[in-house]
Symmetry: C2
Subunit: 203 residues, 2 copies
């Protein structure tokens, strides 16, 4: 690309460092901002600076938060005896969007993955164990991706919790609602037959 402006070139290079943004998309965004007469570029800049400077991790659950303790951990209306263990802050948002869970969360920060050099010590597992002890948790729900790394992580945490008086459950796996059976993968379909549940008429 032949840039007529070094400033434009720098902006394109900076924007294309984002995941999924190629040089051509970055150029389109940068030219949009050059031609934009509102305060959009400044607003985005300010938001990104605050994102890198002011955002922190909740000291209790490791979720993304504006303060030391996040809104969910602070909330008196949430059930403190159930902790849902997730990989990332994105998963907390996905579960919150369902409106089906009123307990608290714990964000691991990833899954155990020897190939990527991520061991248990890189995740917030120690903090989770401390929390379960101090908060007198009754149930932990594993809402972790059903991948090999995810299963390893679930197995590891479950072993750690074995001698602690806490119920461990795992989110249901099976065919998706609205999905066609013929398009479900063999493993999912096979397991959903093995793990069938008694049918209940919804009232």
């Amino acid at each position: 690309m032949n840039f007529s402006s070094k400033i434009l070139e720098d902006a394109v290079n900076a924007l294309s460092s984002l995941p999924g943004v190629g040089k051509k998309s970055a150029l389109r965004l940068a030219l949009h901002l050059v031609q934009d007469h509102s305060d959009k570029a400044n607003k985005i800049s300010e938001a990104l600076i605050r994102l890198s400077k002011d955002i922190c991790k909740c000291k209790v659950c490791c979720n993304i938060s504006d303060h030391d303790i996040c809104e969910i951990c602070k909330s008196p209306s949430r059930n403190t005896h159930t902790i849902c263990i997730v990989e990332t802050a994105r998963d907390v948002m996905a579960i919150e969007d369902t409106n089906q869970f009123k307990g608290k969360y714990h964000v691991l920060g990833g899954v155990i993955s020897p190939l990527e050099g991520i061991g248990p010590q890189d995740l917030s597992i120690d903090l989770l164990i401390q929390r379960i002890k101090s908060e007198q948790t009754e149930e932990v729900i594993m809402a972790i991706s059903p991948t090999i790394e995810g299963e390893t992580t679930i197995y590891y945490i479950t072993k750690l919790l074995k001698d602690m008086n806490v119920k461990v459950s795992i989110i249901a796996r099976g065919v998706s609602f609205g999905g066609d059976l013929e398009y479900a993968d063999e493993l999912t379909l096979g397991r959903s037959i093995v793990a069938r549940v008694p049918y209940q008429i919804q009232s």
Copy 2:
């Protein structure tokens, strides 16, 4: 979306104001920046602030530039007697990338479009006319999109240039190189037959 952080929410709203960036993409970008431990967010912010503050239009050709006069207008090696008229700064980059044009440019800033309320006075046409007079231009090349608005703009400028001793040409239109004839649209294919040119063996 249930955000656990107002800062994150602001960043997602700011990023999703960009064209082609939806809320989910914006969230993915913002979470990437939160988890990124390099200086990426600051670099992008700085680049965008400079983009909105320091970038200007070349006073001669209206192209995007870091200075009052752009590099192309300043360059002594470019042919000053040919001006290529384009719609936007992006078009200058596209033509420069071909390495086939060594003259100068003039960026109109759009095309005449009554539906969108863009008239000749909103484009840099007056400046173009002054320029052609003062620079003793011999040829102008219309590199404007072959749309109804583009054709209108070409017609308008050509009429203005009628009494000035300047050759007006238009970039060749026809089927794309590497394209299949069966996929070319009827209008393009039809016109490319009507506007056929003598075949020359390339030496």
